[in-house]
Amino acid sequence: MQKNWWKIASVVLLIYSFTAGLLTRIPELPALEQTIRNLYFHVCMWFCMMILFTVSVVNSIRYLRTFDLKYDIYARHYATSGIVFGVLGYSTGAIWMSYTWADPNNPLFQSFSALAREPKLIGAAIALLIYFAYMVLRDSINDMDKRARISAVYNIFAYAMLFPSIWIVPRMMESLHPGAQGNPALDTRDIDAHMRTIFYPAVVGWTLLGVWITTLKIRLTILKERKLAQ
């Protein structure tokens, strides 16, 4: 029970953010209006993705320090979960975008090419592509130790290159997406005080959920490996 408190916390925080996020008062802004509630979901996905990718890199470093295959399994599963949250971030963003950015006189499909040029979208696409490449690299090597070592090296290298691509470069280009000057999600002057009381718990809740899913997958993989070893 002592070890499970964070799983309970995750469920409680998510229930809180869903109910409070959909029911309580929000600042009425032109163009955004009710769609601003998507902040509790869309932004949380990206936070969760970045945290999971960071955990994956930390595990890759731990693998290179110890050569314990356990950490390789950790790194791999945290990266997969990160990809899932990234895809979810994209889909929630697409829904939001179709209500706020898309030209109402044009069908969404036609305004797509204009919207896809958005630097933040390119940055996020790069992040996902890097981790897809990580998966391709892993699958292309048969030897277990070699696979772990080479993919750990690529993971660290790619993560270091990812920083400029999603944190620096989009801020140097003109963009419709909020957050061109600094970090709107963490800036206390940028986001409504009431919304913050729901937004931060939501981030924590989603992150804990991501970790929970990943630990289940890790445990399953380790059990399978053990069965194979017998």
Partner: protein, 218 residues
Amino acid sequence: MSAAKHIFTLFKKDLLLEVRQQYSFYGILLYIGATVLVLQMAINEPEDKVWNGLFWVIQLFICINAVAKSFLQESKGRMLYFYTVASPGDFVLSKLLFNSLLMLVMSLLSLLLFTLFLGSPVQKVFPFIGLVLLGGWSLSLVFSFLAAIAAKAQQNAAIMAVLGFPLIIPQLLLLMKLSNTAFNPVLTMPVNTLLLLVALDIMIIILAVILFPFLWKD
């Protein structure tokens, strides 16, 4: 022997191989020439934006072709020999140095051919040449390290492209944006972006020195 001497010896060995075999140098030269000729036949005088895009995309492909063989050419036995005589840091630095030199020459040659065959929208010649050299250097550093990874994965150059394209997009975007300022006499080149590119290059060198020892052991 000091580290610098080691690096220089390994670098000289690569240079000597290149001078004796020459096939990769002329191969890439032919590649640049053929591409530029096809482009000239397809679009005679491209607009500034098209010229810019084509130039950097072709730099990217030249780089993949030029750098791919640097690690792939070393056979298993020869790698084992290097393992006994050199330290991994020296080895990777000598490779980075050689690939940088190769790519700098290739970038200048492709700029020359582009200007000859496709005309040139460049207004500020010397800043643009500097930018081309910086861009070629950045590309060669990233792809040299990825070539080391691809060689260890016993894969061909295809996996290098898969691994490298997402990583290189931000740098290419920055380079294209900077080149646009060289086409317009009114705009000035933002120094911050240039410094960011240089900082990225330095980071790649440091990462390569730290991470290569793990790739090198078999």
